[in-house]
Amino acid sequence: MTGTSTFIRAFLRRDRWLMFWWVLGGTLLYYSQTTTGDIYTTQAEFDRAAKSMEENAAFIAMAGPARALNTVGGQVAWQAMAIGAIVAGLMSMFIIGRHTRAEEESGRDELVRAAAVGRHAPIVAAAAVAAMANIATALLIALSLLSYGLDPVGCLSIGVAHMLTGFAFTGVAMVAAQLTDGTRAMYGITGAVLAASFALRAVGDVAENGLSWLSPIGWGQAMHPFSGERWWPGLISVAATVALVCVAFALFARRDVGAGVWPSRPGPQRAGRGLLNPLGLAWQLQRGSIIGWSVGILLLGLAYGSIGDDVEELMGTSDLTEQMLRPGSSITDSFYAFAVVIIAVIASGFTISSALRPLGEEDAGRVETLLATAHPRRDWLLGHVVMTVLGSVLTLLVGALGLGLGFALVTGDTDAIARYLAPMASYVAPVLLLGALTRLLHGAVPRMAFLAWVGLAFCFVVMFFGELLRFPSVVADVSPFSHIALAPAEDVRWTPVIVVAVVALVLSVAGQVAFRRRDIITN
């Protein structure tokens, strides 16, 4: 353990800005939900709104079990905890990854290991720093909510729940870091666990079949902050964390530094024909992400689809349901129109990360050698654009098929299998527009390319909280998703789809041209 404290200090220094933004973002995510209380002028109005939310299965799938939704505390817990858990999970994953597996992969780890440091010092220090970041977020969440005037016990409970969920995902990341010798694969494994945790609790919360108890996110929500707090579910998180950390250390002890538990096999001596065709490299680099996202989105579609026509009983007849209901359509169709949008918005995550991939290649210094060959710049970028477009279409398609299949399986209505294809197809345009925006940023101002994620966050907020937060329609109209018909509740309108698609095409071409006219990023 020699050197652990030195490592902790070094990591904290390296991560100070990264942690600042994660902690601040996590805190704001919770604190901003207190505005829900300001929207309603009377408690009666709040009660009515709460009732309509409670009866809305789509909201429950997105957020969590509905409890005390007619109180500000209940709203904060409901709206922030599931997403907050994902934020805590991602933060913990990146902190563990960059200080353990990424260091080993780059070889820097060897350099420090040659110094007088204990074998376990880096991983212990990384775990400590991840824990500190989670504690800091939890503390700020609790204090900020306390400053708003919420019940102190609830503030403590929501902070502890957030922290323990973060700890559990820290444990997951530590195990994942032992399994493979690649950082990207480690992030993939952890990300899959995060997605599965979210999907389990989404299905479990809607169907109330106990699946939520298999999810670390569910454990946190089971502590019921602001709605009759109970503490024992926290013990499940603690036990899971202890078990995961023990597994991580046991695996760590059994493997060589730089290697993973899963051995890296030697690869082919010669490049196959697949790699040598014009799209080969882009496909090789993006296929893992395309397959991973497709599987994830397919599962998400199946999860929503398997709610089936139970929706009718769950939805009730509230104002919000009325708002969601389109004239002349069934409650089921209205619900699935929202499910289609939710899947499309989540799949945009693939589109943006895929459109950022060429930038990642530039940053990693792998583009210089490639573009010093007879491979034109235009074609190199185009290869990645093709992957982004095809991958986006594929993920949306399997999402729609998942919805249809899930629905058909539960209800026996085989016509449903193809029902969501056309509605989902109309969302290809806004999803690709986010990708095109990313490409324009990459081409014109590569240092600002991360802002594409802000664009997605904006669309997300407009889509799901726009009516709740009463955004002026001018602001809401900026989101390309706002213009697409809510099919199957409404008929698909192709004119806005074509307009959005044309805007996407223009932005994409502008980005590709800008890329050809700028310096390659070199270091």
């Binding site: 992969e105 070889g107 010798d181 690649g182 990207r184 890296s264 030697p266 690869g267 082919p268 001596q269 010669r270 490049a271 196959g272 790699l275 040598l276 080969g280 490299l281 090789q284 680099l285 990693a364 210094g365 792998r366 210089e368 050698t369 490639l370 573009l371 010093a372 060959t373 007879a374 491979h375 034109p376 710049r377 006219r517 700028r518 310096d519 390659i520 070199t522 270091n523």
Partner: protein, 308 residues
């Protein structure tokens, strides 16, 4: 004068700034067909930036850059068919094997010489089945070198290509460059290893803070420097300090040590001959000395600029 049509690389008055940092400040560089041209300079002098502009990866702010007579920014891909490039920092894709990368780069350049590829893999003792992330720096460099040398090209652009190689592999590299040169091809070799440059290069350009400060054959440049001489003579060594071009004279009994401007070496040896030479060691100027002469005075020069 050299026939301009024969110039593989012709850079005149090249300027390139990154933000407010002036990386290149009026650089000239010419590489003629069939020559191995050494490109020397300290870290941050602008060697890599020059090469990246030459390859059309960066856009020149001002000046003319001709590669095979063409514009490397506009016609990058077309011109790149005729060259191969090895960067100073070779970054490979973590999931591709070395063999796959060699084939990929070869294919993108327009084809590999299969026999040469096999031969180079063996000579460089490269394991082509390892994944990119498993290679050491030297092995990553070997991957890029094999890919470059196995391509059928007229020009090699090498940016400190041996910085990660062990001495045995450096020797292999030197042989390979000799073979390449024998086919009449040209090389631009940026390097810090002066022995390598002395051994391989026909001409060298030395650059500093973004401009070229010296260009010529090694013989040309030697005129600009001094030869160190140490000798033991029969007679009492007197009168040597009066000779033109002799510096730092030290006399210890019958032994003398001094440095002499290479232009005046003959006269100095004549004078020693008159004293009766018993032993004589003369050390020709090394590139190190050339290098030190141009970079050693960095601080004073900058102080003057600040004062002015």
């Amino acid at each position: 004068m050299v026939d301009r049509m024969n110039d593989v690389i012709d850079i005149r008055g090249l300027h390139k700034a990154f933000g407010c940092t002036q990386a290149l400040d009026g650089l000239d560089l010419t590489v003629t067909a069939g020559e191995v041209h050494g490109f020397l300079g300290p870290n941050g002098a602008g060697k890599s930036t020059t090469i990246r502009v030459l390859l059309g990866l960066l856009r020149a702010d001002a000046g003319t850059v001709r590669l095979f007579g063409g514009d490397p920014w506009r016609d990058a891909a077309e011109l790149h068919r005729r060259l191969a490039y090895v960067p100073g920092d070779v970054n490979l894709w973590p999931t591709l094997t070395g063999g796959e990368v060699i084939d990929l780069l070869g294919r993108l350049r327009g084809g590999l010489d299969e026999r040469r590829r096999a031969d180079l893999v063996e000579r460089f003792e490269l394991d082509p089945t390892k994944k990119g992330r498993a290679y050491s720096k030297g092995n990553r460099q070997k991957v890029a070198l094999v890919a470059a040398l196995a391509s059928d090209v007229e020009l090699l652009v090498l940016d400190e290509p041996t910085s990660g190689l062990d001495p045995l592999m450096e020797a292999v590299f030197t042989e390979c460059i000799d073979d390449f040169k024998d086919e009449g091809s040209s090389v631009l070799l940026s390097s810090h290893i002066l022995a390598e440059v002395e051994r391989l290069c026909d001409r060298v350009s030395i650059i500093r803070t973004g401009r070229d400060v010296e260009t010529g054959t090694l013989a040309d440049l030697r005129h600009l420097t001094r030869t160190s001489v140490s000798a033991e003579v029969a007679a009492q060594p007197t009168g040597l300090d009066g000779l033109v071009g002799v510096h730092d004279l030290v006399v210890e009994g019958h032994r003398v040590f001094f440095e002499v401007d290479t232009d005046h070496l003959g006269a100095a040896i004549d004078a020693l001959g008159r004293l009766g030479i018993r032993t004589l060691t003369s050390q020709p100027p090394t590139l190190e000395e050339l290098f030190m002469r141009h970079y050693g005075d960095e601080l004073p020069a900058e102080t003057v600029e600040v004062d002015a």
